[in-house]
Symmetry: D2
Subunit: 135 residues, 4 copies
């Protein structure tokens, strides 16, 4: 069991009717995506065609920031606020979509964009899955 | 002219039809609110009635994270993506509302909650103003 | 191979003489510790003895912030600056030590502090290992 | 009086013998520098000579992250830990120095680097001033 899942189990109060598996998957996807986007933006900076990658860098930087914030919000359960959780998940899914689409354009040329696209798609789906399960 | 405004003026490409004053006001409100919420959550921790303030702490922590991310996204203009900007501003306004409402409950007892409520309201309005101006 | 390791392999330029295994281990420890500290601080907020846990919350919040920043700095390789890397690793090890020590005090009573202490110790050691390997 | 200063005044416990003016100045410098570095890195991405600015982008990204974390740590006063504060201030001053030096190289050509250099120098000095005052 991952540390994320173990800490969720150690939360001392009732979590309500949240789907624990989807919640854990989403937190894990967010922190993986934040790191991947940070690394992809940096790899872009070291490519000889960096001038073609500026949109990719910008979108990855946004995605890293939003995924980190979403991973944090989802790691807190005290005084749960459905409106906040939903709006943050929407923003995260939207940004992962944008970042995944842009990395997709560069995936044929750059292995880091290929990896980052996969991770962004996984995180987008994890956010949508969790959103759907919130009813 | 603030550093935020000076840096916006130094951006080398066309910014499109964004309302510069509302954009600057929103970036400034986001970074002010991120700091205020961090400080308010910490002040809550040092109050003798901390057990009554746990919802306030949690909401302020979320608000600090989302305001920081929003301030970053709005400070980037390369390859502007309207969907990302809108969804992040929605999440920020929603969270500032939640944090402002919770601080409001404690404003009669704690000066930091009174200050933090004001800053959260200002940031919520700055986000809504900018959202409206995006058309 | 983890996504962190795969992205390191996809970095397009020479990484110099860094120990790749220690670098990957440190990035993974930082992002794990950032999440664990965020979750532990929140779990503290929901404990009935929250008034005894305020130092733990504060130290975990610092540790989450510094671990996230350290994970980001270590995920970038373009234009490596040894002074920056070293000073950030020092700050991260110092903060993980403080957070691990404080969680240790509460480990007999709270499972989340027990888990969080382990993760903080692991991250502190990963930072020190990487620092030592930098020569 | 700035919101940062007002919130410091509203902190409910004794702050010890810290120099309040230097503390407020340092928090304000950190949040100003985090925003300036985010904006400068983005402006770099939109310059026609972006390939010459990759070190500047990387250093500004690090500096934004470390300044934000330092501003947060300095905004917390509950259970003050001198070792953590010192090590974070050292890392922040080191990174502001690196970022200011790199922006200095591009200051003759780019107004955003000129502005960002000034802000980085101011933040480096504010960190050193506060460090010195801690004894």
């Amino acid at each position: 069991m991952s540390v994320v899942a173990q800490l969720l189990d150690a939360y001392p109060k009732d979590l309500g009717k949240v789907d624990r598996d989807k919640l854990v998957a989403c937190v894990e996807a967010c922190i993986e995506c934040a790191q991947a986007c940070t690394a992809c933006a940096d790899a872009d900076l070291s490519e000889s065609d960096v001038a073609e990658l500026t949109k990719c860098i910008r979108t990855c930087l946004d995605c890293a920031d939003i995924c980190e914030t979403t991973g944090r919000v989802l790691s807190r359960h005290t005084a749960y606020d459905a409106n906040v959780t939903r709006s943050v998940l929407e923003a995260c899914a939207t940004t992962c979509r944008a970042s995944g689409d842009e990395c997709h354009r560069h995936a044929p040329h750059h292995a880091h964009c290929r990896l980052c696209e996969e991770v962004c798609r996984r995180c987008e789906h994890a956010c949508r899955d969790l959103l759907d399960s919130l009813g």
